[in-house]
């Protein structure tokens, strides 16, 4: 096992899939000669040439649409958004074309495309560049939405996403790129639609994805010192949602807190909460709770930026509420 960064894991996934299948290509802003705004495509231009690593103009709607068209006729594009914030100008392509063409063409066209790039709040990039879009995309039938929290998950899931015959929204944790994890040197795949228990515990289930998994893991450590054993379930895939793993855990612990860095209203955690209460009604000892960012655009000031996002202490407090300890 090698210890590599989340960034390197993504790079390896794309490199391996491009070696494996010559229909796979990458397109996006600065993905080639600049090696990617976040250096995720480092060295790929050199290896695979301009034919397969294409620098696009600053026109997300355009290159997302070109990618969808290419996918419809047999290629396997990886469309990189510099960040998911910029996907909003391309959301019509993603929602109305990528997600729907298979169904609207009566199965004549698959759209085997991956839209990827960093998402979630970063550090001091203010309201327009620091937000979470998974709830937008997870809302749409026809899309798959993947949000890995570790380098291991990132590599295995991206490779699966590239091989998937459906459009996959692959949202990387912007603040996770430098995080490292053990990754096998041999090839492996992780199925889309399978949650992962990142920590076992008997007292409460914390449900999170991407960066918030680590906030939960840190909170679990704090709580363990007080004798509270948290189980942390990393959804990894939001759509399709592996609710069975979540429900099994909640049935065991009797309590659930969902932690997401997005906004509270209609956030994806609300869907999880709904399904948990539906499936685990007779097992719940406390209302299913959520910890989210505050219902405000992200402030620029560092102190406020921290303040609006879920912190370890917020998770600890929610856990204690659910355990009736406070």
């Amino acid at each position: 096992m090698a210890i590599i960064s989340y960034r390197e894991a993504l790079n390896q996934a794309m490199r391996e899939e491009m070696e494996r299948d010559e229909n796979v290509f990458i397109m996006g802003e600065e993905v080639g000669y600049y090696n990617g705004a976040y250096k995720v495509t480092q060295g790929l231009l050199q290896r695979f040439s301009e034919r397969r690593v294409i620098d696009a103009p600053i026109a997300e709607m355009g290159f997302a649409g070109i990618g969808i068209g290419a996918a419809m006729v047999g290629l396997r594009p990886i469309i990189e958004f510099m960040t998911w914030n910029f996907s909003l100008v391309a959301i019509d392509q993603i929602v109305n074309n990528a997600a729907k063409l298979y169904q609207m063409s009566g199965g004549q066209y698959n759209v085997p495309i991956v839209f990827r790039g960093p998402g979630g709040p970063a550090v001091q990039v203010s309201s327009q560049h620091s937000q979470s879009f998974e709830s937008y995309y997870a809302h749409v039938p026809g899309l798959k939405v993947v949000m890995p929290s570790t380098a291991y998950d990132a590599k295995g899931l991206l490779k699966t996403a590239i091989r998937d015959n459906n459009p996959v929204v692959f949202i990387e944790g912007e603040t996770l790129y430098n995080s490292t994890w053990e990754v096998p040197e041999t090839e492996y795949l992780i199925p889309i639609g399978k949650s992962d228990v990142k920590r076992e515990g008997k007292d409460i289930t914390l449900i999170a994805w991407s960066k918030m998994v680590w906030t939960c893991m840190d909170a679990a450590k704090v709580l363990a010192d007080e004798g509270i054993e948290c189980e942390v379930v990393d959804l990894r895939t939001l759509r399709p949602l592996d609710i069975d793993t979540v429900a099994d855990s909640v049935k065991k612990t009797g309590r659930a807190v969902i932690v997401e860095v997005g906004w509270p209203v209609a956030g994806f955690g609300a869907e999880v909460a709904y399904q948990v209460q539906k499936l685990c009604m007779d097992y719940l000892d406390a209302p299913v709770d959520r910890v989210t960012s505050d219902d405000v655009p992200m402030p620029y000031a560092k102190n406020l930026e921290d303040e609006v996002q879920p912190q370890i202490k917020d998770v600890v407090a929610a856990v204690k509420r659910a355990l009736y300890l406070e």
Binding site: G254, D282, Y283, L284, D285, A286, R321, Y324, E326
Partner: protein
């Protein structure tokens, strides 16, 4: 933010307590865990430790007052805080639900209705019983803390879905469980506590009975005090008969409720057997000789050990009826009825089957001694799986005992008597020693043959007492 602190549940079956003594003064600063008062519960004097931090701004009850579970006892907050609103709130909680139960002069002669608690001369024989903080939980900012909020009569039981599932599984009546969640919600830990406290079963039934609406009874006392004993119809006495009504202590009331329940609801039957006590006396004599001044073993200590071992041999008698199931206990915990002033308690010898006779003897002596001073802790008087009541020391030849719920068996032990015994070998009558034991059984759990099997095992252990050492 100041808050009202209610009387917490200090013993598993308590419904009210007498505030014996404040150990802090108004104005004292306290931190979680500090002892602030001693409270006499139905079982023992218990420590009331505060769970919050702050300054004791005001005591709402006096020493000697009887306080219902959850009723306001004090206001806790920051020094100098304005608490006038809370004080008003607390007194309205206290007073609102009912008129004062103080005795009315015209009621000084008892009627068929429950009499007010008063001596014949019209003086209150005790503090008036305070109203519970029913209807509303103690109004505090943090209802989630461990202050219990008693449920009002007929009100919907608030319980988490998990608590409900568990209650069904364990056969626990949620109406009798005190919720410690927000707004008095019964949560998992409350059901677990109720279940772990096997004693709850009996108490629960008592409380359930308590809650039955009594429309024909407009006397407030009857609705709010533990009613079974008090409610028992009494004949109006001959007007010439003089009498004094002595207010029942908490313990007395609890005994009244529980024993009435047990005798009424459990299908008792009784098995009696005479055992040859001569070998037991000889064995005891030898043990005491060996012990010298390092202790003393009584007949009862040996009976405890024998009963415990008999339960191991016939484990089906170490059980309880829990609604839909027979609960078989895995440990043998022997309750030993101990008479104390004004009542009795049943301290528990845990794992008596595994303890040596000497350590049982020492433990019984210690528990009995402390029981006399009400010095037993809650865990020392709960959790027994079988009980022994011995009146041999009073010369009682034989008697039958009322079961101690939820246990399925209790053994009543009579005195060792001199008796003429037939010596089979020589065909003569000789002087012997005999002891009669009576086993009361819960027929839902123990059938006649099973009880007989247990008594047989017990008799063998008593008649061959060396077995007790094995």
């Amino acid at each position: 933010m100041a808050q009202i602190i209610g009387l917490p549940k200090l013993s598993p079956t308590m419904e009210e307590g007498v505030l014996v003594r404040w150990t802090k003064k108004e104005g004292d600063k306290v931190s979680p865990g500090d002892l602030i008062a001693e409270v006499e519960t139905d079982k023992a004097n218990m420590d009331f430790n505060i769970e919050d931090e702050g300054v004791l701004l005001k005591f709402l009850v006096k020493e000697g007052d009887t306080v219902k579970l959850g009723a306001p006892v004090m206001i806790l907050g920051k020094a100098g805080e304005d608490i006038s609103e809370l004080t008003a709130q607390a007194s309205s909680v206290d007073a609102a639900p009912a008129p004062s139960p103080a005795p009315k002069p015209e009621r000084s002669a008892p009627t068929t209705k429950p009499p007010p608690i008063a001596a014949k001369d019209g003086k209150p024989a005790s503090q008036p019983i305070q109203k519970p903080a029913a209807v509303t939980a103690p109004p505090t900012e943090k209802p989630a803390s461990a202050r219990p909020a008693p449920k009002s009569e007929g009100a919907r039981v608030l319980a988490s879905p998990l608590a409900k599932s568990m209650a069904i599984e364990l056969g626990i009546d949620l109406r009798n469980v005190t919720g410690t969640g927000p707004g008095g919600r019964i949560v998992e830990r409350d059901v677990k506590a109720a279940s772990e406290d096997g004693q709850e079963l009996g108490a629960d039934r008592a409380q359930a009975a308590d809650r039955k609406p009594e429309r024909d009874d407009d006397d407030v006392d009857a609705k709010t005090t533990q009613a079974i004993a008090i409610r028992t119809p009494r004949q109006p006495p001959d007007p010439d008969t003089e009498y004094t009504d002595v207010t029942a202590s908490n313990m007395r009331k609890r005994i009244a409720v529980r024993l009435t329940e047990a005798k009424r609801d459990i299908p008792h039957f009784y098995l009696q057997r005479q055992v040859d006590a001569a070998p037991l006396l000889a064995f005891r004599g030898r043990l005491n000789e060996l012990l010298g001044d390092r202790g003393k073993v009584s007949v009862n200590d040996l009976v405890i050990k024998a009963a415990a071992l008999a339960l191991r041999r016939v484990p089906d008698c170490n059980a309880a009826w829990v609604g839909e199931a027979i609960r078989k206990f895995h440990q043998v915990h022997i309750g030993v009825a101990v008479a104390i002033e004004d009542g009795l308690v049943t301290p528990v010898i845990r794992n008596a089957d595994q303890k040596g006779i000497g350590s049982i003897a020492a433990e019984v002596r210690d528990l009995a001694e402390r029981a006399k001073h009400k010095g037993l802790k809650s865990h020392e008087i709960t959790g027994s799986t079988f009980t022994i009541s011995n009146l041999g020391m009073f010369g009682i030849e034989r008697f039958t005992a009322i079961l101690n719920p939820p246990e399925a068996g209790i053994l009543a032990v009579g005195a060792v008597m001199d008796a003429p015994v037939i010596d089979l070998e020589h065909g003569t009558v000789v002087a012997g020693k005999r002891m009669t034991v009576s086993m009361s059984c819960d027929h839902r759990v123990i059938d006649g043959a099973l009880g007989a099997k247990w008594l047989q095992a017990f008799a063998e252990l008593i008649e061959k007492p060396e077995l007790l050492a094995l």
